[in-house]
Structures are given as structure tokens and as C-alpha cells.
Subunit: 223 residues, 2 copies
């Protein structure tokens, strides 16, 4: 399996729960993590909160998104879908040549729950690939529960992370990265043209969570 | 859990592998199963093949799709996507008032593998609901492996069946039906507007099968 132990991981939108949860788990695994935000101050607050509250602070630093994009070896995009395209367009030079892991779920919400939003490019991941032609875009980490990632009582996370992309070395790297979270397997899940349904499945998982009062994830059987 | 032991299950397109596999498992669970096809002769051949080859023949009978739709209590739609809409339109009178379980995956295939087809109504299940306004349409059984269902060596199937629909009694019934297959759980997976991604996820499962040489399925964790 690919060695990812020396990587510095940047997380754009790392002050949100999903980004912060991933930051915590990667820092616990010994990686250096850079939390990005529009505001360097809020990014540093999020980094500090992981140190104080969750025992993962030493390796976590906060900075503006552009600084994080420039300094990290591999960049995770955990921003809200609204603003996703604009942010990535603005960071294309910093992200060139890097693996960019999109974990954005384009969802709408109404009284009946969550539903998938149509995306002109096909999916958030394909939108990232379209605006970052010089990056290696991978889709992954869509179904992680931020609550579970942030919960110090949860040592092992019961989840397979589907990893999609066109570039075998890049998907192998992200599978290995997912595997650093105890309990998690990174599983190759196909090409980016099949990313929409993986992103959209988060709406179904939210329905499961409501019906069963759970923090559901998925596992792939027979592998 | 809903009692489904007295139901007669009809399977439209039951001569295909997916339909035949489900027929086998429901017959083994003691249900009466009607296999439907355009040709009554081919339907009866499929029914006979289950009896001779797989020990499940006593409760399986073949007939034309229209006869099956009329006589069954609950009807599973396991036809190819091509022709799906036309067939259901033609059977709307026979299917009125019944639970109709759509397990059709609208997929295309090319050199790069499988991909999801766009469906005007949103998904195959929503297309069924549109042409069957007097039926109770449920989406389920998308990710079953026909090979596994038909394999006498596989006693327990390692799979959760996501069950989607608008009608609680109908989804409860189909969850119970899924639960008749040893190892399988029927899990509520949301409303029909979120069916597209469940159907389309079959393309990802095909990618998993190719990469890992598996007959992959999914499990939902934390429930």
C-alpha cells in the first residue's frame, strides 16, 4: 500500500465539521494537517479546538485557504457546495500538480429531508476536475460522519470510503490515506463519471439516520 | 415486522438472471413465485430450471407478464431498462392497487465500464411511479448479485437491500420480503426522489467487482 506517512494534508473548509473531523483523525495518525478557511483566525481556532478538545492538536495548524493550498502536499476540499467552484477556480495555480480530494456533497434540504442537487458538470468532483485541469482530482470521504470522526469515544470508525478517480496512483494514495483512520478501508469505487451517485447517496444516508436514529455509513461486502 | 409469508410474488422479466435469482430465493423461503416473461414458454423454462438446478422449483410457475401482473399480490420489476416504461404502461390496469417493486438499474456500458443513464423522470423507480399512478411503487433489490442469488453454495447473502418509497406500509412490506433471504436486511433508504443514486450506484459496484474480482454488495453500518 502507498506510503502516505510523510504527507502534509491541507483541508480547505477545514473549520466545518466534516473537515475538522478528518483533520482530527489524520493528525491522530501522525500526519501534519493544515486547516484552511477564508479567515486565518477561524482556521487557527479550529486547529486549537482539536488540540484542546480532542488530543490531536500538535500536528494541526490553521491558515487561509490559499496558504493551505500552496503548502500542503495533498489537499482535501471540504467546503459547502455553494462556493465550491469559485474557491477552486481561485486556487487553481496553488493546486496544480497536486492530488485534490473532493468530498463535497451537493445536497438540498426541505421538509421531506435531503435530496441531490443537479450539477452542470455531472458531480462536484467533475466540477473540480473541470476547473483544476492541472490537478489530479479524486472523489472520496463523502459518507464520513463528522460526529463520529470528532467523537473521542469512537476509536474505530465502521466505514468503507469509496475512492473514485482517473489516476491509479492518486486513487491508491487516497485509499491509503483513508486507511489511516482506524476501522476505515479505502475502496476503489470507479471513475469520476460515476461520482454523482456517491455524492448523492449521502441524501439516502441522511434518511437512514433519521429513520434509525443512527450515524450510518456503508461497507462494501465480498472484498 | 410485516408478515409476508402468504404473498404470491410476481417477477416481471423473471427469466433474466436478477429476476431468476430473486425467484429462487423467495421460493426457497416458501413463497409462491410467478415468473413472468413476454413468452409463457420461456417463463416456464425458467421456472423449471430453478426446480431442476436449484431445488426451488415446487413453488415457481411461469406465465406471460400480463398474467403474472394480474395474479400476483406483489410484483417485482426486473426487466432491462430498455422497454421498462412501455411494459409498465401496458400493465397499469393489472398492477393497480398493488405494491410494485422496481429494481431496474438504468446503466450504459462502454470500454471504460458501466455508467448511469439519465432518466427523464429522475430514476427508473420514478418512471414506474409516473406510469403507475394507482400502484404503490417501491425501489429495492438494485445491488443483489444474480450470481450469488443463484449459487446453491451461498446460503447467506452478505447484503443490505435499500428500500425506497413514499408509502410506509409498502416499504415495510418490501423490507420484510428482503429479510426472507438469509443474511439480507431490508433497510429503509429514503423517498423515491432519492432513487436515482441507488440505481446508479450499481455502476460503482460493477467497478468494484472488476477491480477486486468480487461480487460486491453494500452494508449499512450503525443500524
Amino acid at each position: 500500500m502507498t506510503d502516505v506517512s510523510g504527507l502534509t494534508i491541507g483541508i480547505l473548509g477545514g473549520t466545518g465539521d466534516q473537515g475538522k473531523g478528518l483533520a482530527r483523525r489524520f493528525a491522530l495518525a501522525g500526519l501534519k494537517v493544515l486547516i484552511g478557511s477564508r479567515s486565518a483566525g477561524r482556521a487557527q481556532e479550529a486547529a486549537d479546538s482539536l488540540g484542546a478538545g480532542a488530543g490531536a492538536g500538535a500536528g494541526v495548524v490553521g491558515a487561509e485557504n490559499a496558504v493551505v493550498a500552496a503548502e500542503a502536499d495533498l489537499v482535501i476540499v471540504a467546503v459547502p457546495y455553494d462556493g465550491h467552484k469559485t474557491l477552486l477556480e481561485s486556487l487553481a495555480p496553488q493546486l496544480a500538480g497536486k492530488i485534490v480530494v473532493d468530498c463535497v456533497n451537493p445536497l438540498g434540504f426541505d421538509k421531506k429531508g435531503a435530496y441531490a442537487l443537479a450539477v452542470e458538470e455531472g458531480s462536484a468532483a467533475q466540477q473540480a476536475a473541470a476547473v483544476l485541469p492541472d490537478s489530479r482530482v479524486v472523489a472520496a470521504f463523502h459518507h464520513v460522519s463528522a460526529v463520529v470522526l470528532l467523537d473521542p469515544a469512537v476509536e474505530k470508525v465502521d466505514l468503507d470510503v469509496l475512492v473514485l478517480g482517473e489516476d491509479r496512483e492518486a486513487t491508491d494514495t487516497v485509499q491509503a490515506l483513508a486507511g489511516l483512520i482506524p476501522g476505515v478501508r479505502g475502496v476503489y469505487g470507479g471513475r469520476l463519471r460515476n461520482a454523482f451517485q456517491v455524492e448523492a447517496l449521502t441524501a439516502n444516508i441522511i434518511s437512514v439516520n433519521r429513520r434509525y436514529k443512527a450515524h450510518a455509513g456503508i461497507r462494501i461486502t465480498d472484498i
